[in-house]
């Protein structure tokens, strides 16, 4: 008891969080290592070393953790950033589309939520469609969007951004619907007693009251935007981007490249969400009244 108390009180919060993350990571790595040992045949000419020989199989079925780490490192830093073999280059291409899609999704999501909150008709008529839209697999809609936009003369970034936005607008819409309705009835009636206009009620109350709901929604949207951009690269026959890289790896059975690309995709998503978290923290004053 006493020890627990001192641990709680002397170890800063971030360190405790880092420790719990590390524990989970170790468990995952352990399971992964066992699986890699069981899954892979030993290479014909095993290199000497203290790690199991089949961890270094050239064409592994399930690459081992150090193998993926090395492949990721090489992919990121083994080539100049401008090289088509550099994963930083491909991540940049995907991130560009994802950010465009994220921006589009944020605008569409906020606009839809504003409309839905202000009109009972749209609340009843539009919201179901927004929800249904998410039950259609993006793999099915992505080629359609590519074809339609391609015929209209848009290729490259825009179709990918649209596909990405079609996933990412959803959490923004739902989050902002809730956020824009978060103001209490007394807070709203207060503005009525001042004879405030609808737009004043929106600017002075509904919008600021929604901000705490906006950021969690934006973080989910960012992760979805990156997924969407990757998926958007699959049917476009893109030459560049993490999606294109995954496709090449998949065609050629390059499991290592596939894993490394996925790791880089996760890192990209993690970093983007991290940036949003920093922005949220930099907004100084918001704290709900307790």
């Amino acid at each position: 008891m006493n020890n627990v108390m001192t641990f709680r009180h002397t170890v800063p919060g971030w360190l405790r969080q880092a420790a719990s993350i590390a524990v989970i990571l170790c468990i995952v790595l352990a399971i992964w290592s066992v699986a890699a040992t069981l899954a892979n045949p030993a290479p014909s000419d095993p290199e000497p070393g203290w790690l199991p020989a089949n961890w270094w199989n050239d064409r592994p079925i399930l690459p081992s953790p150090p193998q993926v780490a090395v492949a990721t490192w090489n992919g990121l830093f083994g080539y100049p950033v401008s090289s088509p073999r550099s994963l930083i280059f491909h991540a940049g291409v995907t991130l560009e589309a994802a950010l465009a899609g994220f921006a589009l999704a944020t605008i569409i999501g906020i606009a839809l939520a504003t409309a839905i909150v202000h009109s009972r008709l749209l609340d009843k008529g539009l919201l179901p469609w927004v929800i249904v839209s998410q039950s259609i697999p993006v793999l099915a809609t992505a080629p359609m969007i590519v074809v339609v936009l391609g015929n209209a003369g848009f290729t490259g970034l825009l179709p990918k951004a649209v596909i990405s936005a079609s996933l990412a607008f959803f959490p923004v819409t739902i989050g902002m619907c809730k956020g824009l309705r978060a103001a209490g009835s007394a807070q709203i009636e207060l503005l009525h007693t001042y004879n405030a206009s609808g737009s004043q009620i929106f600017r002075k109350l509904r919008w600021p009251a929604a901000i705490p709901y906006l950021f969690p929604a934006l973080k989910v949207a960012m992760a979805l935007a990156i997924t969407g951009a990757i998926v958007g690269e699959l049917p476009t026959g893109a030459q560049a981007g993490l999606g294109a890289r995954l496709l090449i790896a998949s065609y050629n059975g390059l499991m290592l490249l596939m894993w490394a690309t996925l790791v880089v995709a996760s890192l990209t998503a993690g970093l983007s969400v991290g940036v949003l978290t920093l922005i949220e923290r930099a907004l100084p004053r918001f704290r709900a009244s307790q």
Binding site: G184, A186, Q187, E189, L190, L191, H192, T193, Y194, N195, A196, Q200, K204, L205, P208, A209, I211, R285, F286, R287, A288, S289, Q290
Partner: protein, 287 residues
């Protein structure tokens, strides 16, 4: 304000509604700040029609402090909301400053204090007080001045830069009173503003409020559950009862304008309190 009332206002009156076409007997330009005449409010509920208010009439003169007191469901808050134009009567007529409650609201001629402070948590105390001034479009310097004045009036100059969560419940409610005062209204409508506060804080705020009322020559309509609070603050206490919501008795509180907490130990105060208690026990017996 009195100079405008009768003639120029009569034109838009006819535009408004059925209520306006009634004989204008009580709407005549006497000095009532608020006049309520035969007002009823009813709405459908699970058990048939619910009579929130039935045949309520009340005249409030300039400078009065009126407390509405009674069991829950007696319609005291509803009556306050009718005066503030936050709810509409089913029948009957209300006048505020000689016009309709809607005109009073669009003229911003009253300040309303809610049961909860209803502060905006993303605004500091002073910025909360400036909110109504932003709505009416005052210049930033004027806002700042007026809000600082209003905060000083409730003794919160020190707390101007603090956020609501950094303030105690009593301080939050004082900020909300400052916010109501910042529009400099003559009429203050208060819905159980001190209901959630402890007794000592409540006493302090009661003293504050009675001083503000006297110094600024306010007219106040005040909803409360507390008999001592009502008697201490008011010029008249309106005892209400429920089912249907109605006024059962109006009790005068014939004390001097300047009031201190000592007043509560006088025989006269205890007599009036007893009178209110008797009126209310009848009301509660109905329940």
């Amino acid at each position: 304000m009195q100079t405008i009332s009768p003639a120029p206002n009569s034109a838009p009156k006819h535009v408004n509604a059925v209520i306006e076409s009634r004989p204008a007997s009580t709407a005549a330009p006497h000095s009532s700040v608020v006049s309520v005449n035969g007002v009823a409010v009813s709405y459908p509920s699970a058990h048939g029609i619910f009579q929130a208010l039935s045949n309520v009439s009340l005249d409030v003169a300039r400078g009065e402090f009126i407390s509405l007191i009674g069991p829950s469901g007696c319609g005291k808050t509803t009556l306050l909301r009718l005066i503030a134009d936050l709810a509409q009567p089913t029948s009957g007529e209300l006048r505020v400053n000689g016009g309709t409650p809607n005109q009073a609201r669009t003229d911003r001629s009253y300040g309303y204090v809610f049961q909860s402070p209803a502060l905006y948590p993303w605004r500091t105390a002073i910025s909360n007080v400036m909110l109504p001034l932003e709505i009416i479009g005052l210049s930033p310097t004027e806002r700042q001045q007026r809000a600082a004045g209003a905060l000083a009036a409730v003794g919160l100059t020190e707390a101007a830069g603090r956020y609501p969560w950094q303030l105690s419940g009593g301080m939050q409610q004082r900020v909300s009173i400052a916010r109501a005062l910042s529009l400099q209204p003559d009429l203050l409508l208060m819905d159980e503003p001190f209901g959630a506060l402890d007794e000592i804080t409540r006493d302090k705020l009661n003293l504050h409020l009675t001083d503000l009322w006297r110094e600024r020559n306010l007219t106040v309509i005040f909803v409360t559950h507390s008999i001592p609070e009502a008697v201490f603050l008011s010029t008249r206490v309106v005892a209400m009862s429920a089912n249907p919501g109605r006024i059962s008795r109006v009790i005068e509180c014939p004390f001097p304008q300047r009031r201190t907490l000592d007043l509560r130990n006088t025989k006269q105060f205890l007599d009036v309190s007893q009178e209110v208690r008797d009126a209310l026990s009848d009301a509660y017996a109905d329940e």
